[in-house]
Every structure is written in C-alpha cells, then in structure tokens.
Symmetry: C3
C-alpha cells in the first residue's frame, strides 16, 4: 500500500506560489544556444509576453562541465541574475538528462543496451543506463555543485530534476550492469530463490533457477519470455529511474531544503509507475503534446490532465511543456490554428494546471528540434504565434486567484494501475489487441462528452468519495484490491468493470476458480471462456450467477449476456463482457450515471462544450467553459463553496 | 535415394498398441506445476475422461537436474507409478527440449545466434545451438540417466525425444561452433573445394573459396546471399537437429530396445526435411493447431494429416498435441465452438491418427502458456470443455478396432519435397511471391473439396500405385527425379505439373536448354519467358511442342497457352503455366480426375461433407463421414477389403 | 564551388570513339563462369549480334588472385586476345568491387558494420568498409598488376573502375576504422572543435564535443540524431568511396595514361554526390533498370538520363547496363514485351547515350542473378530475346554519326543538389513525407509529357543558358546559391521554386528572418507557418510581400495563397506552396513555359510521343521520335545547326 496522498500542498509549494503573480507563464529558456544580442531581445520580449516562470538549463551539462570535473556555471549566472531582476521565477534544471560526450567516451559502459544486445550511442540525448553507478556518481556530483552554487539565489523558485524520465531509451537497459542490478533488485524483492521460482512459475518450460546469477533481464529469446520476469523487469526499470531521481533529490533536500522539486512527466506513459513516483515530488509536472491532426486530441489531453491531477490526490499541477504550434517529432506535424493554443492552455487550467509553460521560449536555429514551434518563432516577434503568446500571457495575469485554486471534487473516478498496464499488455494472451490506455480513454470518453468531471485514482485511493467507479481491464489484481472494490459496491458504490479483469495476481498467476474469480461474487457471474472474434474484437461466454443481462451478443454468441448488472449490498456492479461502440457505450454510461446520480459540471451545456470548476482560496467557484470546436473560452463565477 | 519406406509397423509399435484400449486419448501432463492435492484430483478426472495415454516430462530437465550432474527423478516416480496403477500408458519425454538456466550460465556458447549476430538468451525455451557439443553431451547424459532409471517401468510405453524440433529458433544458428560444423558438413558433402565451388557457382560475384575456413553460414550480407550456400545451410540445419535426435535415440536403443520412439512434428514446417526424419522414428507424431478464425482451417488440417500419413508410407500416426479450445500464441485467439473439438479429433482419425492427445491435461496457472486451453481448464471440471473432453474420451473407447487400422489406399497423390521447398523460396527469383505450402494447399484443395483421398509422397515414392499425381512448382529437381516422373507418365500415369518446375538442379543451377529442360519432352512444350504480372500473379510464355492448349491467358499474353495437355506414351501430362482461381481449378481438376478415373471416397456426398476410410486388422472398412459445417461425425461400416 | 564542367570530351574519350563503329553495343561478359565450348559459341553469337564493346572482369578478383598476392591473369588473356581479334573493344573492370573470401577471413575488420553494430559478412558482394586501408591496399595492388599486364593491349579501350559504388552496403560503415576516418575527415573540414560545435549546433541537447575522439558516426541512439552530424556523415560516406575511386584512378593514370576511365552509377541514387564524382571521370556511365510494371517507368528513365547527361554538362554518356528483359532483384519481376528493349535503348540514345550495353551477355547458370535476363538467355540463341538483340545490334550500326553526337541544348533546366537531398530527407522535419527524388520527378514530368527537353544542373551551373529553371525543395542552400538564383531571375530568368526551400544553410542551421529568408526578396513573400495537412500533403501559410496569388488553398487555409508569381527585375519568380495534382501542375507549367517561351522539341507531337535531338559532328540534327505506347522509334533528319 502506498501512504495516503497529501491533500494540501506542502509548505515548499506555497513558497513557489508566492513567486508567481498568477498561473505561471513562460517556457524552456536555452540561452546557451544564442549570442548576447539575442539575450537582450529575449528580456524585452519576455516582458512584453508577461513571462513569469522559465525553465533553465535542461541540457546544460556539457556547457557547465565541458571536461570531467571542470564545473563552471559562469555562463548561467548572468541569466539567473537578469531573470531575478526582471521578477521572473526560475525552474532550474539539474542538467542531468543528457551527459556530455566525454562520459560515453571515458565510460562506454554507461551506454544503454537493447534487448537484442545493440548498444546505443551518443548523438541524440538520454544515452545512459539507469543502473550505471558511473552515471549516477557524475550526475550527483553535478547536482551538488549546481545546488551549492545557486542555493539562495533570488531567481531559484523550483528544481527541475533531470528531464522526461522514461522517455526515449533511458527506461530499459539490458547491459551487464543492469543485469546485476536486476538480480539485486529481485533478491531484495523475493529474499529466496524459492520465492522467485514460485512467483515466476518457473516449473513451466524448465526455467527453475538454481542461482541468482542465472537470471537475466528479459533479453531476446527464441519464444515468449516468462511473463512474470517481464513484469518484474518493468517494475525494476521504473524503480531504477526512481532511484536516479531520489539520488538527486537527496542532494537538493540537503542543500536547498526550502526549494520545491519536480520532474516533468511525458504524455501518459507506460514506463513509469506514476502513482509511486508522484509521492516523491512536491508538485507534479507534465509535458502535453496533443496532435493537431488527431480528432480526439482534446479528449486525450483532458484524460491526461485528469491523470496528472489524480497523481497527488487532486493537487494542482504544472503544465511544464506544450507547443505553441507544431511539433517536429511526429512523421507529419500539423500546426495549431488561431485560438487553439489559448483554448488548450485554458483546458489545462480547467483540469487543474497552475502553470502553462512552453517548449520552448525561442525556436532553435540548429539541432534535432529546430522545427518544434516556440514562443518566439524563427520568424521573430512579428508572427501570429508571438502575438497569440503575448495575448495569452496578459490574459492569464488577470486571474491571480486561479493560482493554487483547488479543482472541484468529482463524483466519478476511473481506476488506473501501472503494474496492471504492464501485465495486461504482455504477450501470449487471448488477444494482444487490448490496449490499456485505449480502454481507459474509451471508458473516460462518455463522461467527458457529457462534461462530467472524472478523477483518475490508484488502487489504494479512498473510494468512498465517488458514486461511480470505472475500472477498465483490471487484469492483474491482488485479492486485497478485489476485496476493496467489492466492499465499495457493498457500501453503495456503482462499479463498472470491463472484460479481462480479475484474471491474475501480481505475479501474473491465474486466480483459479472460474474467471474472474475474485470478482465473481460482486458481479454475480462467471466467465466460462474467452471468445475473441475474427474481426479483432473481444467476446466471452458469460454464465449468470445472479446478475441480469442488460445487453446481449450478436453473431456466434447470439443472445448470450454481453453486459450485465448486479445489485450487491447497497450498490451495483456492472460488467462489460465486450466494448460497445461509442454511441452504445455513451447510452449505457448515461444510464449508469443517471442511476448513480453523477451529473455534468454545469447543466444544459451544448454538445461539444466542456466545463470544469476550480475553487479559489476564498471559496469562490470559477467555471471554465471551453468550446473545443469554436475554440472559445469563458471563465464564469459560480456558487461559493 | 532414401531407402524404401516401411509398409508394416515395426514390432516395437505393435507393443505400443497392446498398451492402449482404443485410439490413444489424453494429453501432456505436467504435474511438476501443481501441488499434491491437485495430483489426486487429476487421477480422478483422468479416469472420468477415459485417458489412456499421457505425455510426461517435456519440460522436466530443470526439475530433474537442478544443478549440473545432480540428476534426481524422485519427483517423477510417484506419477509414473500411479499412472501405471491406473492403466494409463506413458509417452515419456527425454526432457532435452529446454535446458535449465545453469547451462547457459556456465556455457553461454550454447546459446543460439541469429544471422545478424544477435545471441538469444534463456527466459523462454529451446535456447540451444543444435551444433553445440556441450549441449549434446549434457542432453545425452540426461537421457542415459532417465532411460536407466525407467527401463522396464510398467508405465513406459513410448519415448518422446526432445520436443518440436525446428520450432522456435533451435533450427538455425550462426555461432562460431555452428560455422565450424557447417564447414565440416560441407567437407563431408563435397570432399574438395573444387566440387563446392562448382556446386555453389562461386565464379559468380567473385566468391571462389580457396580454403574451407573462408566459408561462413549465410550471415547478414550487403546483398543477396549465394543461393546454393543458403540451400546447403538449410540442409545442414535439418541434419544438425537430426544428429541431436539420433544421439538421443542411440542411447534409448541401447537401454530400452523394445520401447518405440517418436518425436512430435510441428504444423507442416519448412525447417526439417520430414521424409528424411520420419525414417528414424517408429511412429510419426504431430501437433495440430488449426486456427478457429481461419475459414480454410479444416482443409489445412486435412492436408497436414495427409502429410503425416505419407511420411511413413501410409502408416498411422499419433496426434500428439491439439488444443481443446483456444491457443495463446496467435495475436488474437478464437475459441472452438461446441462440437468442433470432437469433429477435429475424428478428422485426424479419419486421416490416419491412432491417438488424440491434447496440450495439455491441466491449464497452467502461470507462465507463457497459461491462456492455452487444456482438458481441465482454469475453471475446473465443471466447464463445457471438460464435459466435451469426457464425452470424447468415452466415445473413442467404443472403437478399439480403429487402433492401428490401415488407412485405405488412395488413387491420387501430391508430391512434396523439402529441398525443393527451400530452393523455391530463395530470394532473387522471377517472383518471390511463390509459396510452396500455399501452392501445395491450392492443388490439394479441389481433391479435398470433392472428398477424394490424396496421399502426399516424396520424390522417391512408388508412383505406380497412383493414377493421378499432382506436382506443384518442382523448381529444383534432379535429372533422375525428372526421369522418374517422365516414366510415370509414359507408363500410363496422369501428371499435373505446375509452373516454375524443372528449373534448377539440387545446387540451384539452371537446367540449360529451354525451361523446363528436363520436362520439355513429357510436357510437349517449352517455356520461353517468365512473365509475372503486375497484379502479383504468375504468367509465362509457352511455346507448344506437341501439347495442346486447354486454357489460354488473358491480358498481355492474350490467347497464348496457359494450361496444356500432352498425351505421352500411355499417359497424360498436364501443365499449368498459371494458377487458375479456385472455381476454375476445381473444374479443371474434376476433368483431369474424370479422365484419370480417380473418384471420391464415397459417392454422392453433399457439398462440404468429407469421408475417409480406415481398414481394420480383420479387413473391415470403416468410413468416417465428417460434416465440417454442422460439426457432425458418422462412422459407417463399409465393404470388407 | 566546383570547377566549371568540361563542354568538350577529353582527348582520351575521343580515343574511345575511334574504337567503336557506332554507338557501342554489347554487355557484361563473364567468361569465367563458362567452359571453353561456350566461349566458342560466344564469339560466333557476338559477331552475329554486332557486338562492339564488352565489359570484362567485374567480378574477376577471386579468379585473378585466388590466394593473397598470387595474381594471375592467364584466365583472361585468351578472352582479351580473341576480342581484340574480333574487333570488339573492351571496357576492362578493375575487379575491385568484390574481394575474394580470403580478404574477410584474414582481415575481418574490412567487413562493413551497420549503425546498430551488425557486421556484414561475405556471401554476396561488396562486403568491404570504404575506409579500410587494408581493403584499399589490396585493391590498389590488384589494379597495379592488372594495368601493368594489359597496358597497351589492343582490346583495352576503357577502364571500368570498381562497380556500382554506393549500391548495397558499401556506402556507409560504422566500424572503428570508419569512425576514426570520420574524425579525420571532420578535422580536415572544420579545423577546430569550436567550428565543428558551431556547425553542428551542439549546444542543443548537451552535445558539445571537448575532444575529437568523442565523435562517432551516427550510430543507433535513443532519439533523433544530430542532423548536422548525419549530413556530414553522408558527405563523408560519398567522399570515402570517392577516395577509393581516386586511388584506383591514380594507378591507371600512371600506367595507362591514354586510356579513358569510367565507373557505372546506379539508378539515380542518394548515396553519392554525382556532380562531384562526375568531375573525376572521363565519361559518365549508367546502369538503367526501369521496372516493366511501373507505368511511369519511361519517364523515370528519361529523368535519370537527363541527370547523367547533366553530370558533365551535356557530354554524352554510356548506358553501361540495362536488362534485355526481366531483372531478378525486385520482389516480382515483369518481362519486357516485344519492342520494349529497342524502344528503351533508343530512348537512352535520344537522351545522350553513346553506348547501349546489357547486363549481361550470357545468362548465368548459377548464383544470385541467374534469373536476370541476358542477351543470350538460358534458352540459347533460338529465343525472342536473342533475335531482338541481334536486330538491335544491326540497327545501331546504321547510325555511326550518332556516336559522340552532341545532345541539342535545352531551354529549361531542373536544379538537383545531393547535399540538399541528404538534408531534406533527415528526420524531425515538419513532414518526413517529402521525397526529393519524387519531387524532382513530379516537377520534371509536365515538361516530359510535353516533350520539352530539360537539363539537370547543379547549383553552380551556368544558368544564363536557360529560360526556365525548376527548383524543387531546395531546403538546404547557401547564401551564395540563393544569391545566384536571385540574380538569375533579376537578369530575366523564370524560376519555379517549390515549398520547403531556403530553410537552412549547409550545416542544417535555419536561415533566420522568416522563411524562406534568402528567397523572400525574389519571391516577394514570407512563409509564416508550415501547415502539413492530415491527408499527408503539404500546406503553408504564405504572407504576400509583392507577389500575386495564382492558386489558393482549399480547406483549412481556404483562400490563402498556394501558388504565387512575382515579377522581379527582368524575370519572374514562381513559388509553389503546395504540390498541385498532376493535371493542375501540367496546366500551371504549360502557362509558365508559354510565358518563358520554352517549347517542345518538335511541334505537334501526339500525346505520348517524345522527341529529342542530337547534333552530329558535322552539324546535322537527328530527331529521335519515340512512341512509348506503340513502342515505335523513328530517326528523322532535322535542320542543320
């Protein structure tokens, strides 16, 4: 069990708020790429745009330590000083995301290795093995020098540890060092080989280990790799990166105890168990990159913002990166039409953001991201983009009360669990076409479309706050969590559980006794067989044991139950043995919501219009109303709470 | 030339028959995955289901030899004893398919290497280099201990050597050990480098070898690899695995001379030259996994059963693995609806099976195959699957006379040749879209659809038994085989040869003199040019030299001969210069069959209904009539033979 | 800047002309693959076919140096002698394209390595690292022996250095030797690390180099690799192969100073900067393989012939390889119908070819190219192919005046630039769907369809000769080149520039100041944003600054300028902000051509009929008129020039 989440921002975070005039506004600032005359223009333009917060130094390692041990922050000092003078707060990066080329040259063993043995090389970024003690030692030394140098600097408002952990390859490494670290991690987890052999079901396929050093990370193999091994490797990989984070945070806690720390998460990613990570941050940060060509982009963004808000139990979070226009890293990159950037920024604030920063302040002239849009484009300030940036910066300053304003509580929640994600998407399943993220989005969508607020919660959340709980594909679940969900229904909650839930335990071992064994009682049914259909969809043979059928299958399983409802204790448990198409799912969820008395944020919103509410420190409700198609934004005062 | 095939089962096989009450029924039994209370239930349920034969110990190496040399079969003894007590025969695996993790740890050089240099690791199964003397030594030692331990045990009825040779990666290895073995194999085959250089046409592209140690397995290369080298590497790979098999068999022949041996072949696979392998078995075994989502699955199964029956010249074979329901290893796995398992089992028996076993007895709780269906599902005995299993087991006991019953002789045959398969599908061809297996299936289908029995025969079969012989794409053919086929027609046979036949010799060197040089006389034509069409299909320019055109091309080659007929000696030679669509091919084959007097097994069968006949030891004909759509099975007494 | 191109063939080339009776006719001759009786037939058939030029010895290294240092050309002498006797000129290969197997065995470090570390092996061809001093030493030694042996031989007419440089893998290597060579190349190019760091924009992503030996070739990396590094690596790769070429040429220049040299280029390939390479040849050679299944094949061929003619400023070139019929290396290979080979040969001559050779004389019996058609097919001389070859050989002899005849000057040109090609197709762009070759073909097509002659020119060409200049996607351009194009318009030229031009400099650094900064003045516009559309096409937001809109966007950018026209000085600059569909582009180009007074080669040609003109030494115009559909060819006398 995770410790309970903080419901009040920590003291360090309140200090951050005192540095900002309103929700933070700004971007990544990389002055090392530009000559002094540009720096002067930057200062003017930041003022014009109402910038209040910038991120500095993300890729500053090579500049700050050009040769091993020769740390020198002289290049950065003038920027820190002038930003302080301009009243702009600095989110200072620890610079450890990308080591200088000399590290790989001197210590090639720090380079990550893929599961087929390919060793990755420098030339892009994040080319380091998370388990490497050499990398960690160099990183921690850099952070010590940096924190010592800037402790107490008036610009320093927030630490940004590393960058986008788990993005690119730095998540998974199969080198010899990682292999040894994996063994140590397993030894810590299991204590004895017998325990590991049992957890990993190694009697299958003659895999029983007789010594710890026989164990590998899941390297390329002739056939399906042991699923429990794969699952533990994903846990290990998340943990190893977290250990890197913690090593840096420990230095900062010692040298700058009053400065809050964060790190930026990438678009809801499978790699890191964010609920575990978020406990270690003072404030959650997020990089949001909706695809302008994706018609579901606004919904995807809303979902991910709900995740970020949920990571620390409803605490506001920072939108630390977004693009003013196009990105560069998709194969084909659409622009954001006029108004889209403003709309998207307000959408983030509606869903709990306390800042709206961009990657990046000024568009790079060279390098791999020069076609990523920026607040100041290649074309300079005389562009639509910079005009819209300036207008947005000024607009946000009109809402100082939104900074730190509490997101209004939701009556509905969706359960998300990283280890389940890892387990669900392993191979050798009845169908490998199940995507946890797609399923979560599909379940979240009918609430979103109805402008119903929805929290995203972990398995150990306090569920009593919610009248409706959506639980997509909870394939891997402990007896304890299953019991909590059962109790939730018994005590009056409405649970919507979808197919391929309750199948295995945390070691990917089947809960025997008829699927889904730990949920059979609360659901009032048994799944006799999985029956994926030739069209790629899911189906299954459900035997009712108390539940009633609400929808039935067509085709091969014609007339057999597909969606069921079961009154249990004071509550109701719904089960989806298939995924209805969007209109049918909307109809079904509308019915379930109505029964559970879960309502839209505001009544009578037109189709396509969203509203979310934040509650100011003095108890005022501010409704932010967003029209995704017209790209309009309206901030309305609501009732006091 | 291969030695002539046995037409009578060997004495050892008759001993196996005495152990079974009827066609064998049962499955893979892996008791090491379960605690004792489950073993007790297993015994009861096996009895209820009429189990008569189980496969034990496939993945038992790690359990039996937990550390090097510490062999101990104590875990297995109680199971052998209680199965003997229950009158259940045991097909005992030699356990060598998957070495314990310690082998790779101590001898990493036993791990297989892909053609790009990637070394595969443990974590799944079959992670061994077939040429490794280290692996072979350990395997043979295990087999010695095992055979010594169980020689004379009352449960031991059949040896199951290794498992699914050639499946997964264990077929092809490019490590240094394999490279040396390949050189030795070539030296044995060619004697001199001059002979090799000539066979491999090394004057092309400056590839002439001056020393044996200059030769590699066909590793990743800048362009098309030498085709003769690729072809010999496939021969070598089949032979190296066969050498592993032989090493185990030699131990068993010495220690348990009266016990028959088998190994299970995987669905008709390109990897092993099964006609060569089958000579070394007492009985052929097969693992059959038709895809419930494949509308042609029943025909594919029938074809593969015809192959298995043909491997030892019509001798019955064992269905050693099938799934009662879904498998787990396709991306999306359909279930088998009610009646499908029974139908498919009877289909195998109709085509010559003497046993119907399943993978596996009890569905695993953990590991990579836990979602592979089993006779006892996760849901336990109270499931449709176990009910159908029990009914099937009881039904088979009613037909003791089917055990060992001889499949009725066929009037038609289809020629299949592994080296031709390897050669046909090499790269740098007029079209790489030719699939030998697809072509064989396409030629076999019109006979199947008409319920005509068809044998599958090797190039050295006694062809005089057949009135009709189908020969798809015999691209690589020796002068001698071509002469045998010519003589077959001359003596009165009807030959159907399809395009891209008679092109090269066994070293992939063109038969000069106009395609298809060794068949020009019997076919009465010359192929002047290959002319693959933009739509991906085949066409060619045929010059008639005695043959008559029966079908003509449309489009670019409009009016030129596409299908020809040539009366030659007492017989007829047909040539297909294209592959007609299924209805046209059916019409054509119906005509050819009528001329050749080849008829359905039973007259007047409705469309979609199949019949095949087995002849009991006392000469009774039993017609097994199968309706693939209604999933009905009918066993009818026929005439005495 | 490249030195100005030669407009008159060098003296050595005139010597070649004296050896030929008419445009050269023949093919690759590989007698080492055949026994003496075949050689005798070859001599007869060559005479019958009118062969005047053959390429000998391409893959002769292993035969000529069977063990290291044991050079012996005895096998080749009789062929050289008998060809001389028969009056057939020899294009003698230096034999260095494919080393014998012993080189890799003794020096495995000569084998090339892919960017993921995979080392390629012998077994096909061209398995050598271009930077390997070991390979180069062995190659140069072979050339020395060969040139010494055949200097002054009456058959020797032309040297063919290596073969198809840059095809297959020999273009790019990432081994340790290549890495060191890359560093040396960079040191030569940049002088200081500061210069390199600036050119490569290494302040981005913490990539600043502190020592030369920290730099790698662009190996597999966690994310997008540095674009300037990738670009320089492509320059380096082209240069390293050129260094191999030069090393051989230096030997030949010393030992056979009067014999011209060439090497054959593969179908317009991205790998080599051909404008740089062509300076080092006496005559350009080309291998042309239009795909019979490609409906645009004739146009693609015409384009590539225009490229070859442009490489040395209009000098005739040699068609050194084509296929009489099908090739073997596509997945599915169509044949050439009757008349196609003749038509295609004349098409090459129309576009400037001085020879028409085939790969190969006699179709190989074995090896990877045995299904590549040849002048003498497997079926022998009694085939359609050999008949057509013979007719063609005789026909060409009727046009001795075509040998060396000057291609008529064109009024239109298309600018092609290899470094721009490399830069344009780097990753992390607004769209990765831009293909330079496809764009060049699309721009060339409307001229081709109208039978308008078009030259292909480099950035430093003399543009004053052209009334119309097409410049597709000149993404990477120096200020100097941009100024030359601006001056071209100012002085009266008509420029058609298409989108994503003028974006970066030669180091992939953005030209700041609003896209396309160096072309804004001449175009009279600014591109404010790139706006690739969901359908995969390109769009952009154009702000007019003097230009007029001629076509407008539809959809999201409805009504905004898409194609513009700007009168500038005495000329006109057109800009395409999108690629219109073929009919609209044809209409647009017809209008532009009409304004620029650029006309078809002959008036009133029917649709689908092409004409091109060559001017004989005595000033006669010969119009070659080709009907691509009817496959007819007509050579008409035109006006004297």
């Amino acid at each position: 069990m995770r410790p309970s989440q903080p419901s009040v921002p920590p003291a360090r975070l309140r200090l951050l708020h005192t540095r900002l005039p309103a929700p933070g506004f700004g971007g990544d600032y990389n002055p090392e790429q530009w000559p002094p005359e540009v720096h002067a223009e930057d200062a003017e333009l930041m003022k014009a745009a109402g910038v209040s917060l910038v991120t500095l130094g993300i890729f500053g390692w090579a500049t700050s330590e050009p040769t091993p041990g020769a740390h020198d922050f002289g290049w950065l000092d003038p920027h820190m000083d002038s930003l302080a003078d301009a009243g702009i707060a600095v989110c200072l990066a620890t610079m450890t995301a990308s080591p200088p080329p000399w590290l790989a040259r001197r210590h090639p063993e720090t380079l990550p290795v893929l599961d087929d043995g390919t060793r990755l090389h420098p030339g892009s970024r994040q080319h380091w093995c998370p388990s490497s003690p050499v990398y960690r030692t160099h990183a921690v030394r850099l952070v010590e020098r940096l924190a010592t140098h800037y402790a107490g600097h008036p610009a320093l408002a927030l630490w940004h540890i590393n960058n986008e952990y788990g993005c690119h390859i730095s998540r998974h490494c199969h080198c010899e060092v990682s292999t040894a670290a994996f063994r140590a991690w397993l030894r810590e987890r299991y204590g004895t080989l017998d325990a590991l052999n049992s957890a990993w079901s190694t009697d299958f396929w003659s895999q029983r280990y007789a010594a710890w050093d026989e164990i590998h990370t899941p390297r390329a193999a002739p056939s399906f790799r042991n699923p429990a091994q794969q699952l533990d490797y994903q846990r290990f990989s998340s943990d190893e990166l977290l250990a890197c984070y913690r090593a840096e945070r420990a230095v900062l806690a010692r040298l700058t105890p009053d400065t809050p720390v964060t790190t930026n998460f990438v678009p809801v990613a499978k790699t890191l168990d964010l609920f575990t990570w978020a406990r270690e941050l003072d404030v959650v940060s997020y990089d949001s990159y909706p695809d302008p060509h994706d018609p579901d982009a606004a919904h995807r963004a809303a979902f991910s913002y709900d995740v970020m808000r949920g990571l620390r139990d409803g605490q506001p979070w920072l939108l630390l990166e977004q693009a003013p226009g196009a990105v560069n890293w998709r194969p084909h990159n659409g622009r954001k039409p006029p108004g889209r950037m403003r709309h998207d920024t307000w959408q983030a604030i509606a869903h709990g953001a306390d800042a709206a920063l961009f990657f990046q302040w000024r568009q790079s002239r060279g390098g791999a991201e020069k076609f990523h849009s920026a607040m100041v484009p290649h074309g300079g300030p005389g562009t639509r983009t910079f005009r819209e940036v300036t207008e947005l910066g000024r607009e946000l300053r009109k809402y100082p009360e939104l900074l730190g304003a509490r997101p209004a509580p939701a009556d509905a929640a969706l359960l998300l669990d990283w280890p389940n994600w890892w387990a669900l998407e392993l191979d050798a399943h009845p169908s490998t076409r199940l995507s946890y993220l797609d399923a979560a989005l599909a379940h979240h969508k009918p609430l979103y479309d109805a402008s119903v607020a929805c929290d995203i919660v972990p398995t150990d959340a306090d569920l009593t706050r919610y009248r409706l709980l959506l639980v997509p594909h909870l394939y891997a679940v402990s007896e304890e969590t299953a019991a909590r969900l059962t109790r939730y229904v018994h005590d009056g909650g409405t649970l919507v559980l979808s197919y391929f839930s309750g199948i295995v335990d945390e070691h990917d071992r089947v809960h025997l006794g008829g699927y889904p064994a730990p949920f059979r009682e609360v659901l009032g049914l048994c799944v006799e067989e999985f029956a994926p259909r030739p069209d790629g969809s899911w189906a299954e043979v459900i035997r009712l044991e108390g539940a009633e059928a609400v929808m039935a299958f067509e085709g091969e399983l014609d007339g057999l139950p597909a969606v069921t409802r079961h009154a249990y204790g004071a509550g109701t448990a719904w089960y989806l043995g298939m995924l209805p198409g969007p209109p049918a799912l909307r109809t079904l969820l509308d019915r379930i919501r109505a029964e559970a008395r879960v309502h839209p944020v505001l009544p009578d919103l037109p189709d396509g219009v969203q509203a979310r509410t934040r509650i100011t420190a003095d108890g005022r409700s501010l409704h932010i109303v967003l029209d995704e198609r017209a790209l309009t934004v309206d901030v309305r005062e609501g009732d006091r709470r």
